[in-house]
Amino acid sequence: MAWFGELWRRLATLIRRRQLDTDLEEEMRLHVELRTQQHIQAGVLPEQAGRVARRRFGNVTLLKEVSREMWGWRWLEVLLQDIRYGLRMLAKNPGVTMAVLSSLALGIGANTAIFSLLNAVVLKALPVERPEQLVQFSETYSQGDEASFAATFEIRYFGSLSTVLDGVRRRVWAIDRNFPLFRVKTLEVQTEDSLVKERLIATLSTFFGVLAALLACIGLYGTMAYGVARRTGEIGLRMALGAHRRGVIWMVLRETVLLIVIGILMGLLCAVGVSHLLASQLYGVKPTDVLTLSAASLLLATVAMFAGYVPARRASRVDPMVALRYE
């Protein structure tokens, strides 16, 4: 149970952090003052005593920082700082940011919607219980050339189909010898036959979906690469001021991750919206398919990371003097 207490105390530092900061400050101030007094009593000149005490204590700012690290929330502070900084950088390039976000959102949204639909129409079984047990009897009456109507009924059967059919025929024909019972199909075959057109459309939309995904990737890559390349001058300045290559690349990647997170959220909203629209037209289609959503997000996220990393690496390799003059 020791870890529980520790976790609890850690959480408490998160809530009471301002109080803890002032506590720490007061405590350290008292220490230096008491030490100064001690020196003065030992005969050291007051101004010198203060200086000696402070030197002996060490770097107060640094020590406060190290103390805060002991509370174990340093990663959270760094994360929040990165997010704030990233958002500020994204706001500085609103055009590129908007373009990237809409590529991500549309790419994820449209593809998820299309593939969820496809999955429901083509790949999944019928939306009834045990469709393989259903068999359909239907007969089309034709009167002249145009007017026609159909009599259809379905039964659920167990065991051998031919035995069941014989039984049904015998019973029905015992009542009405003229009742037509000829076009007998299992429901699965019947659905296959009647959905040919829909499946064609679905296959076509898959094709276009893949095409759309591809275009979204290309567009995303182009926009991101342009956005980073445009900052070559800024990157040169950072490196001239002493930033490391790795630091610069991470900076770009952090912003990319931020973009991806926002883009995926927007894409999710998009997907839910479009799928609801489609689902309202079709029976049994689940609005959003988690698998498709993850696949689309993963694809675009990978492309985006790549699109951030490659130009950032290139820009960080440029000689700062050249980069500074980059237009």
Binding site: A2, L24, E27, L30, H31, L34, R35, R56, L63, W71
Partner: protein, 113 residues
Amino acid sequence: MSKDTMRDEIPPGTLYMLILKTLARLGEMHGFEIANSIQQISEDVLQVEEGSLYPALQRMLIKGWVRAEWGVTAGNRRARYYKLTKAGRKQLEVELSQFQRVNQAIIRVIQTA
């Protein structure tokens, strides 16, 4: 400050043990008293790098080895007093036995001719 006695930085990793032991012996103390006490008892050989006491105390608070309460000093100043907990006492034993084991091993190594 006298420069005639050599002052040694305490070996890394032993600060927690020193603080725990000091609190175990003397009860409630504030930071300055802990630093002073370690120095005096070691006859000024061990010098706690005074500031580093405070990050260590923060970690010990999180770990639950010590408890802290604000009180008033003899000189009528507000100070944070630290007190050993049961977990702290147990930790002290762990650190002491570990330290002794390592120390004896080192001594054996350097005394082997």
